[in-house]
Symmetry: C2
Subunit: 330 residues, 2 copies
C-alpha cells in the first residue's frame, strides 16, 4: 500500500489540503457536504494522518517518556498500568525507558528523551538524580517524579510518606514495649530505604533511644533468603520491616527454616506488596501503597502541567497509605 498523504486525500476529494486538515482535526467551519466528501476520500484511500509530521508542525508529540528501573516489574507494573490508563484517556503515547545501574546509561536515556522531543517525562527511580534532571529542566521538559518529594517550576512529584508510615509503625511497637526492630534491604541504599530508616530513627529518638537495627545484606549473599537463613540463627528481632513483599517472604521462609514462629516469636511487615502476597502463607502485613494510583495520578498531573500554567497546579501530591494487618503480625 502506497503511503497516502493529506495531498492525496485533497486530490481525491477535490478540495485543498487545508480543508482536509480541518476535517481530520474536527474543525466545525467545514460545510457538511465537503466534510462528507473528504471523509469518503479518507475512507477510500485508507488515509491515516502522520503523527510525526503533525508533531513537527505543532511542536508537540503527544507522547511522554516513562523512566523506570529495569527489574521485576512486579511493583512498577502496577504503576505502569495506572499511568497507561490515564494516558489512554488523554490520548498520550508512552515511550518506555528502563535504567540499569551505571550513571552513564542514565545520561544516554536523557539525551535520547531530549532528542525524541516528548512532551514530558515521568520518572520512577529510587535514586534521586538531581543533576541528571537538571539537563531535562534546562531543555524545558516538564517532569513528574514518582516516589520522591521534590518540586520546582518544571517538576512535580507524587509520593507516599513512607517515613511517616514507618515512624508510626515503629512507635506503636515501642509503645508496646518491643524494642528490637530491624529494617532490611538488599540493594544499595535507595531513597525509600533511607526514608524508612529515618522514620525508625525518629521514633526511637522520640523515646530517647537510638535506632541501629539496620540490616544490610552483605555482598557474599546471593539473596536475602540466603542471608537471613544464616542471620536468623544468631539473631532474632521483635519486628522486621522490609521494603517489598519479596524480601519479607524471604525472611518468612528463612524463619521457617530456623523454626522461628511467625508472628509469635517474630513479626514481619513490608511496605510494598504485590499480588503475590495474597498467595503467601502467612500473608505479610503491609502498608497498602497505592502503586496503581501513583502511576495514574502522575500521569494526571502531567497532563495538567501540559495544559495549564505550571504555577497554578499543586506540585507535590501526597498519596495516603493504609496499614493492613495480616498474618505476619500479632
Amino acid at each position: 500500500m502506497k503511503r497516502v498523504t493529506i495531498y492525496d486525500v485533497a486530490n481525491e476529494a477535490g478540495v485543498s489540503l487545508a480543508t482536509v486538515s480541518r476535517v481530520i482535526n474536527g474543525s466545525n467551519v467545514v460545510k457538511g457536504g465537503t466534510k462528507q466528501k473528504v471523509e469518503e476520500a479518507i475512507e477510500k484511500l485508507g488515509y491515516k494522518p502522520n503523527a510525526i509530521a503533525q508533531g513537527l508542525a505543532l511542536q508537540k508529540t503527544t507522547t511522554i517518556a516513562l523512566v523506570i528501573p529495569e527489574a521485576s516489574f512486579t511493583y512498577t507494573g502496577q504503576i505502569i498500568n495506572g499511568l497507561l490508563d490515564v494516558a489512554k484517556i488523554y490520548k498520550y503515547n508512552i515511550m518506555l525507558h528502563t535504567t540499569t545501574e551505571g550513571i552513564n546509561e542514565i545520561n544516554d536515556i536523557i539525551e535520547n528523551i531530549i532528542k525524541s522531543r516528548v512532551d514530558g517525562v515521568v520518572i520512577y527511580n529510587d535514586k534521586l538524580m538531581r543533576e541528571e534532571l537538571n539537563t531535562l529542566t534546562k531543555y524545558n521538559v516538564p517532569i513528574v517524579i514518582i516516589g520522591n518529594k521534590v518540586s520546582d517550576s518544571k517538576i512535580s512529584s507524587v509520593y507516599v510518606d513512607i517515613e511517616n508510615a514507618v515512624y508510626e509503625l515503629v512507635m506503636k511497637y515501642l509503645e508496646g514495649g518491643k524494642r528490637d526492630i530491624a529494617i532490611i534491604q538488599d540493594r544499595k541504599n535507595g531513597y525509600s530505604i533511607d526514608q524508612m530508616i529515618n522514620g525508625a530513627k525518629k521514633a526511637y529518638a522520640t523515646k530517647g533511644l537510638e535506632f541501629n537495627g539496620y540490616l544490610e545484606i552483605p555482598g557474599q549473599y546471593r539473596t536475602s533468603y540466603d542471608f537471613m537463613k544464616d542471620y536468623l540463627q544468631e539473631h532474632k528481632h521483635d519486628l522486621i520491616i522490609a521494603n517489598r513483599d519479596s524480601q519479607a517472604i524471604a525472611v518468612v521462609n528463612a524463619a521457617k527454616e530456623n523454626g522461628i514462629d511467625i508472628p509469635k516469636e517474630m513479626e514481619i511487615v513490608c511496605v510494598i506488596d504485590t499480588k503475590y502476597n495474597s498467595m503467601m502463607r502467612p500473608q505479610i502485613s503491609s502498608f497498602a501503597i497505592p502503586s496503581y494510583d501513583l502511576g495514574a495520578v502522575s500521569m494526571r498531573v502531567m497532563t495538567k502541567m501540559l495544559q495549564e500554567n505550571t504555577d497554578d497546579i499543586d506540585k507535590e501530591i501526597e498519596l495516603s497509605y493504609l496499614f493492613t494487618p495480616r498474618q505476619s503480625t500479632l
Copy 2:
C-alpha cells in the same frame, strides 16, 4: 532555553546546515577543521537533533511499538526487559501499548500505531488477532508475534512449543500409570491454554484415551484459589497443570487447606514461572519458559526485518523449554 535548531548551529559555526547535518550523522567527507568548528558550536549551543524532524525526512522513526496485555507484568516484565535490552543496543525506542478486554480498544491501538509511524510492532498477546493484524500488514508495518507460531511476508514469530511441552509431560505420567490429569485456567480461553489442552489430548489419544480434565474457573469464583478450595473437597487429581505459577500457587494453598499432601497425594506443574516461585514452599515444578529471551529474540528478529530483505530471514523461531522438577512433583 530557546529551541536551538540546525540553523543556529550552522550560523554559529559559519557553515551551511548541510554541513552540520553531515557532522551529526558522522559523514566522513567533512574536513577536520570544519568538523571541529561545528562540534564546538553544537556544544556551545547545547544542540540536540530533533528526532521528529529526522523521522519526517528519513521516513523512519527508529521506534517500535510493543503491545502487551495489561495486567500483572510479573510474566511480561521479563519479556519487556529482554526486548528493551536489545532495543537499546540497536538504538530503537519502545512505545508501550497495553490491551484490555474489548475488541474496540485493540483497534484503537492499531490505529494509533499506524499514525505514529513506528518502524515495526512486537505483539505479545494470548489471543491471536489475525484480523487486526491484517490492518497492520496492509500498512506495511513489520510485525513480530511473541508466543504464537505464525508468519507471512511481513510477520515473524518467536515462541515456545507449549503443546509439545505438555504432551511430553502428560505422556510421562500416563506411562507411569497416572491417568487423572487436569489442566486449569482462570480466563477465557487463551492461545496457550489451547495449546496445553491440545498437548494433553494428543498424549491421551496416543494411549487410546480421551482427555477431559479441563478445569475452567466458573464465573462466580473470584479467584482460582476460591474455586480450588471448594473443588478439591470433592476432586483430587494425580497431576494438575497450570499455566502460570500464580495459579499453581493457588492450587497449592487450596490443597493445604484441604489437607492434601503435595506432591504425595497430588502433583502440580506450571508452565510459566516468575521469581516468586523461588520463594514458595513447596516450589512449583515448571517448564522454564525463557521469557527474557522471548523478548530479546523478538527484538533481534525485528531489527533484522528492518534491515534485510524480509524473505531471507527465518520467520519462525522456536525457543526451547526445559522441564525443571521442584518440590511440587515426585
